[in-house]
């Protein structure tokens, strides 16, 4: 830079009062931005407080562990869903893929005579392959993710029923590795008495949090959904990230299926009708994600899933029957999103 230019820059820097420096100091956090940012967490805290007042059973060790364990599958799936939503996609096929993963493990071991480890690897690979198809159709052929994954959920459901002929399969074997697998799914660790599954889930959550925060891959994944056009023009191959999001999502759904087998000791084709996709989407959205892409975070997605899970738990321990619980879920989701849009609308006025 020539000295003349430097002088010019300096003079422009001191040109207008209030804007003299590069950084004008911290922007203050107002109440509304606070609520906006911690929206999900606030709801969760309120729910926990209310629940502990309503029932002494709520904050017992057993119940807390129970809630944690019940959410493990949903959290694993939600990590994948978050990747999809970040890139501006959505995956409606996860319930079918969860079932696909679980029936593959039991079928391969019990009927095809595979060892448990190859069975798990094959199951995960085939689930990831489903994600490859989704990703290819969306990213490279430009088809709408909603429709592609909707169709895929039917397709995979069909395959699941063809393979199982509609039958449940038990995983029973005296083989040491199978026993280990089942113990992993059903037992607690000896020190803290927490289910092993919780540790695996926590590890996955930390892994994705790390990916999004500390790697170029995660950074570009989130950028892809924020503004695909600008990101493409900045020289980024957004197709790759869109594709990968679907692969990751299906892989994690398959993993959730495998964990389900470990937990239940069996698989059922009826899992295809599970609420996995809807809970994962709802939890991710509660955690700040947006169907438009580019928004959402790993920790808040976990919070969102817990909100969904706690609704059930709170009402169960207060003996509210199952059917009204769905209505309450609807109200909580709508209230949370309502809160966000009201504040957004007010801020932009």
């Amino acid at each position: 830079m020539s000295t003349e230019n430097e002088k010019q820059m300096k003079s422009t820097e001191t040109g207008s009062a209030g804007e003299t420096t590069l950084l004008v100091g911290e922007r203050k956090m107002t109440l509304s931005t606070f609520i906006l940012k911690y929206n999900a967490l606030i709801i969760l805290v309120i729910m926990i407080a209310a629940a502990s007042l309503m029932s002494p059973l709520f904050l017992t060790w057993n119940n807390v562990v129970n809630v944690l364990r019940q959410q493990t599958g949903y959290i694993v799936i939600a990590m994948g869903m978050l990747m999809c939503l970040l890139t501006g996609g959505i995956d409606l096929s996860v319930a079918s893929v969860v079932a696909f993963g679980s029936i593959l493990v039991t079928t391969l071991v019990m009927i095809q005579g595979y060892g448990i480890i190859p069975a798990i690897l094959i199951a995960l690979a085939l689930c990831a392959f489903v994600g490859c198809i989704n990703g290819f159709l969306v990213a490279y052929l430009g088809m709408a993710p909603f429709i592609v994954t909707l169709a895929m959920s039917f397709g995979v459901q069909g395959v699941v029923y063809i393979i199982t002929k509609g039958m449940n399969t038990m995983l029973t074997s005296n083989e040491a590795l199978v026993q280990l697998f089942l113990r992993f799914g059903q037992n607690n660790d000896p020190v803290f008495q927490l289910p092993w599954r919780i540790y695996l889930t926590a590890a996955i959550v930390v892994f994705f949090w790390f990916i999004l925060k500390y790697t170029a891959f995660g950074r570009l994944m989130a950028a892809t959904g924020s503004n695909p056009v600008a990101v493409t023009l900045a020289g980024i191959n957004i197709k790759k990230y869109r594709f990968m999001a679907f692969v990751i999502c299906s892989f994690l759904a398959g993993l959730a299926g495998v964990l389900m087998v470990a937990g239940n000791g069996s698989s059922s084709p009826a899992t295809t009708g599970g609420d996995y996709a809807m809970v994962a989407i709802a939890g991710t959205i509660l955690g700040g994600a947006d169907l438009g892409g580019g928004k959402g975070s790993v920790p808040f997605t976990v919070v969102g899933i817990f909100i969904m899970g706690l609704i059930n738990n709170i009402m169960n321990i207060n003996s509210v029957p199952a059917y009204p619980q769905w209505c309450v879920k609807a109200v909580v989701i709508l209230l949370a999103i309502f809160m966000r849009s009201v504040i957004n609308a007010r801020n932009s006025r």
Partner: protein
């Protein structure tokens, strides 16, 4: 009766902690074109939103014909005869001209529409303002941008608008269309309509306006009679400091040709465009809006399909399939539309600056060296003299337009490319930021970058470029060297010699 058709007194409006409009008072006389000028972020847009009722002021009063007006929403603004024509038109593209003009009436007046009367009334309106050639039954989507603007004005007139606010009306028009607009505005002025005219283009302001109000940092610097002020003084008022030279000088040190595009052909708009650019040179691509400049660039870089032509880098012929590939070969591009293409508005400033070069901050297993990235981004933010950010983690949409553009340029500089293609680098940017961007371009050239500027502003091409290729209707029709770069020459080439005949 007040002297003013409309008057604002002591208007205030803040967003969070930001005082967008502070103690603003201004009045517009009947039959006056009143220019409202100021850098981007000076508060002009907020002010007109307050006037139209799109925003409600924190305090302050609005008087229409001397009587206090209660404007609490957009409908109130319309009922007081205030019509704002924003840069993005509020027309419905898939219905006819007549329906768009009388859209308000569909809600209230008649259950059954009498199409022939509607069309006749629309015709009458259009003829009245000298645009009888527009068919009232044409679809708005089929009209040119200029005609769409005419329809917007017609719509305002059908609401008996006495106060018309135009926000950068010529930004989207070709020079011929600008003339049509100006004669229309003069007509309206003669009919007693008060016009508030917002523009960055000084020549237009001096040509059209009766008085000028200058805003800066949310306040009114002053209101002056246009006839009594010189251009230089007006610019000084706008930026609040002296401005020696609009276009900074640079020492030309032009080297060998680094990129050559020959006979580019793409789609309907690019028929045969050739140009080249040398090291240390600013090369302009000039021509009317719609002549195919941007389209040629896009096809060349592999954003759109290239149907024919040769691109040579140094001595090797290349085919560019995507912007990514272009970047990897050292060709960086600043897209035309800042908000949708240039920056990612919702992402932090930092992420935007390193978007194109993020991979260079990864270690062997793909983990980012965040500290290094921080230092790097701060460095580049300083280099482009970015201002108005509380933190580099603020999303880009918290910045003013000029500063957003600086972020986009910082990203380009950070990418390490040596050939820079800048499509409308200063569009919608205020005077202060404009000059800073010109300085940045000079700096690129000083470091032996090759720079291509696509620009609709003739002054910019003349002031900044060492050479310019003129494009007319998809064909490069001529090359003008520095000493041949005059408005006269550019117009002649870009409109074609035949245009002078009729």
């Amino acid at each position: 009766m007040s002297e003013y058709q409309i008057e604002m007194r002591n208007m205030y409006k803040s967003f969070g902690g930001v005082k967008a409009v502070q103690d603003v008072s201004m009045g517009v006389r009947p039959g006056e074109i009143h220019a409202l000028v100021g850098e981007n972020g000076a508060g002009k847009s907020t002010l007109i939103r307050l006037l139209s009722g799109a925003l409600t002021p924190d305090s302050g009063e609005i008087y229409v014909k001397g009587a206090k007006a209660a404007i609490n929403g957009p409908k109130d603004g319309i009922s007081y005869g205030i019509s704002v024509i924003y840069q993005e038109f509020a027309l419905i593209p898939d219905i006819s001209v007549a329906e768009n003009i009388f859209i308000d009436e569909f809600r209230s007046k008649h259950a059954v529409i009498n199409w022939s009367i509607l069309r006749k009334r629309a015709s009458a309106f259009l003829e009245d303002i000298g645009f009888g050639s527009i068919s009232p039954s044409a679809l708005v989507a089929d009209l040119s941008t200029a005609y769409q603007q005419v329809i917007e004005i017609c719509k305002a007139l059908s609401r008996n608008a006495a106060i018309l606010v135009l926000d950068e009306p010529t930004a989207v028009l070709t020079s011929k269309e600008v003339e049509q607009l100006f004669s229309l505005l003069n007509q309206l002025r003669d009919k007693g309509v008060s016009i508030i005219y917002i523009s960055h283009r000084l020549e237009e302001i001096f040509r059209m306006s009766d008085r000028i109000t200058v805003m800066k940092d949310g306040r009114v610097v002053g209101t002056v009679e246009t006839a009594e002020i010189e251009e230089q003084r007006l610019v000084n008022m706008m930026i609040g400091r002296d401005l020696e030279d609009y276009f900074p000088q640079r020492a030309a040190n032009i080297g060998r040709i680094v990129m050559r595009a020959e006979h580019l052909k793409a789609g309907r708009q690019v028929k045969d465009i050739s140009f080249d650019v040398r090291e240390g040179e600013v090369m302009g691509l000039s021509g009317l809006v719609g002549s195919g400049r941007t389209e040629a660039i896009r096809a060349m870089l592999g954003i759109d399909r290239l149907d024919g032509g040769r691109i040579t880098l140094g001595n090797t012929e290349v085919k560019l399939k995507s912007p990514r590939q272009a970047f990897s070969m050292g060709i960086g591009m600043l897209p035309e539309d800042r908000k949708t293409e240039g920056v990612v508005l919702t992402l932090p400033i930092k992420y935007n600056i390193t978007l194109s070069c993020i991979k260079s901050f990864c270690n062997a297993i793909g983990i980012l060296k965040l500290k290094e990235e921080d230092r790097f981004t701060l460095d580049f933010a300083r280099k482009v003299s970015l201002r108005g950010a509380a933190s580099l983690m603020d999303p880009v949409n918290t910045l003013s337009g000029g500063n957003q553009q600086k972020v986009a340029i910082a990203r380009l500089l950070a990418s390490g490319c040596k050939i820079m293609i800048l499509d409308e680098p200063t569009r919608g940017v205020d005077v202060g930021a404009k000059i800073e961007i010109f300085h940045l371009i000079n700096e690129m050239v000083a470091q032996n970058y090759a720079v291509v500027i696509v620009s609709s502003e003739m002054a910019e091409v003349i002031g900044m470029c060492d050479r310019a290729v003129i494009i007319r209707e998809g064909v490069s029709v001529g090359v003008l060297q520095k000493d041949e770069l005059t408005e006269q020459n550019i117009i002649q080439y870009s409109m074609g010699v035949t245009a002078d005949v009729h």
